[in-house]
Symmetry: C2
Subunit: 357 residues, 2 copies
């Protein structure tokens, strides 16, 4: 494999499908803000009127990381206690939890694996308010849910989810804003900033050379950025097969830190705000151990690291930064994979719609 | 490093502290059943009388894996919706969730990191019923909680938690049994079976040779065994520094499967029951890809794998098998670490009480 040319220019290049879908992200974000926000707000108002007291989020893969982002929003901005569902309790063990006053949100970037449909149906039968957040209003999952939010990302063909991930985040942000009767204005800057991030692919390509021979990676964050760390690890594993371990900064200190040394590069997702502040002591400790630390975050944090990618954070509310933070990390997964002579569009063994039961 | 002699015979051998504490597990389990069960049941009855509607579990490290086990018990056997707390929402962002009717269970093998104490105090102020499950009745964490369960494991000096983990599982099992007014009789077989497992250390030592040069591992399970998979990955990373990625069997199919090949050995924790049944299609797919599959589970499942450790499952209820399943995996982490010439008692950078804020 020779040095990678700019992706997407020739239709037979490795990764062209993933490249095209990453590039669509600003347009998808604009579409949601322009054409989807009103109906998301309407769904949120109807659900708010029913005053859910607890939220359970159900998802798998990238959508599970989007669900985790929603958990932070719901807990921090609405004071709603949340849990991520352990789906097998319903599908394998037949548990029938008591779900009165519980909002069950199922997130799926596709039509929904059978276990998602089954667990959502069971939740509705058990008295839950059910909401499906999907990329397909005609899906079985939308059909079994009382409410539905369409993430409007258009068909996604690449196996690693990219545009459906950022679309899910934005839709979930607007939904939680609607629940609290907020205006969601913080999201308006996102499409233009996403455009500017995508224009920096050459910068990411140069940085990807660092990981050409990496045998493992640790990705950490705290607060709103933690779902980004998990999603970045998943992207890297799906495309490049590099074992990428993601930890919240606090959990990293409870054990896995022993594994971090100068052969385990660390990527830190540093949101500009309280999450990034809470993460800094962990980063200082990693630097003290001589770890190679790559920061995705504001300039002041990148300057304290071994390398990094400076995020535009001026005027960007902390709670919407995750919609942007993942973009350079998607590009990184893509570029590392190309640099290794592999094809991001053809991960081994991965099916677009995974049917788990 | 020469071949490892039986541990614990000489006081200056690597891993002697961890070995001694692993060996104490049957006695600790007996102590909880004989001397602790009545007071755990009493706490459970008082909490049951207050009819909590949701449960939030708060913990870090190994205790977080014990909390996940409790989540399965509470959802499957009591129909109580549960969530694992994202602690930073309280400690970094100052969220004040509405916690009336919510039982907040904080699990800590030690005196409790400041963030656990702070988040438990905040939960109590927000109206939650608070329960601390700790190894120290005089701890700050027990002090801020309304109720307390003592796991009675005695002082734990090794950095990798072993006896406090199995003790936490048993205490949480007995607590959830008390909540549902069950008798917890399924736990009575555990101490003797734990003795029998520990007597098979030579068998584990021979199996550990397989992983002498492993650069990474994938550990998978489903249902009740999933916390065991996570805890086994943590033990391996803490002691041997092998990057060990744990996934529920269903999530493994949603992406990380691309990473599994004949250089990424897979360990599967197969509980004998519905969890193991739900996992089998995943294991068949792994075998179809030529993965090296090591099974900890009943004989019939081990026989379909590349190698394994046969668990005594006859007459052992599925919901208590996790208390036993982790033991051969603790031994494996220990033996792999010794085989690599490292000291399980001296992991790099790991402090027994990690103070995260």
């Amino acid at each position: 494999m020779t040095a990678a040319p700019a992706p997407g220019l020739h239709s037979d290049l490795p990764g062209r499908i993933m490249a095209r879908e990453m590039a669509e992200q600003p347009a998808v974000l604009r579409r949601i803000l322009d054409d989807g926000a009103a109906s998301i707000r309407q769904v949120a108002r109807e659900i708010a009127a029913r005053a859910p007291r607890f939220v359970l989020l159900t998802a798998r893969g990238s959508s599970d990381n989007a669900a985790l982002y929603a958990k932070y929003l719901l807990e921090i901005r609405l004071g709603l206690p949340c849990g991520l569902a352990s789906m097998s309790t319903t599908t394998a063990y037949g548990a029938r939890p008591h779900l009165t006053d519980v909002l069950v949100i199922t997130v799926s970037q596709s039509r929904g694996s059978p276990d998602l449909v089954a667990s959502t149906r069971a939740a509705r039968e058990a008295g839950a308010i059910t909401l499906a957040v999907t990329n397909n209003p005609d899906s079985a999952l939308a059909g079994v849910s009382e409410y539905h939010v369409d993430i409007m990302a258009g068909p996604e063909r690449a196996l690693p989810a990219t545009k459906t991930y950022t679309a899910s985040l934005l839709a979930l942000y607007l939904f939680t804003e609607g629940l609290r009767d907020g205006d969601g204005a913080a999201a308006r800057v996102l499409p233009d900033l996403a455009d500017r991030l995508l224009a920096r692919q050459d910068e990411v390509r140069a940085l990807a050379a660092r990981y050409r021979f990496a045998e493992r990676m640790v990705i950490t964050s705290r607060g709103y950025g933690y779902p980004t760390a998990k999603e970045a690890a998943l992207k890297l594993m799906e495309t490049s097969y590099i074992p990428a371990l993601s930890y919240s900064g606090a959990d990293l200190l409870h054990g896995p830190l022993a594994m971090v040394d100068n052969v385990s590069p660390v990527i830190a997702v540093v949101t500009d705000g309280k999450g990034g502040e809470a993460l800094q002591p962990v980063l200082d400790r990693l630097r003290g151990r001589g770890a190679d630390l790559f920061v995705v975050g504001p300039r002041s944090r990148v300057e304290r690291a071994s390398a990094g990618f400076v995020m535009p954070t001026e005027g960007v509310a902390e709670e919407v930064q995750p919609v942007l933070e993942i973009i350079p990390l998607q590009l990184l997964a893509y570029e590392v994979t190309i640099a290794r002579g592999q094809d991001p569009d053809a991960p081994r063994a991965l099916a677009k719609v995974t049917e788990t039961h």
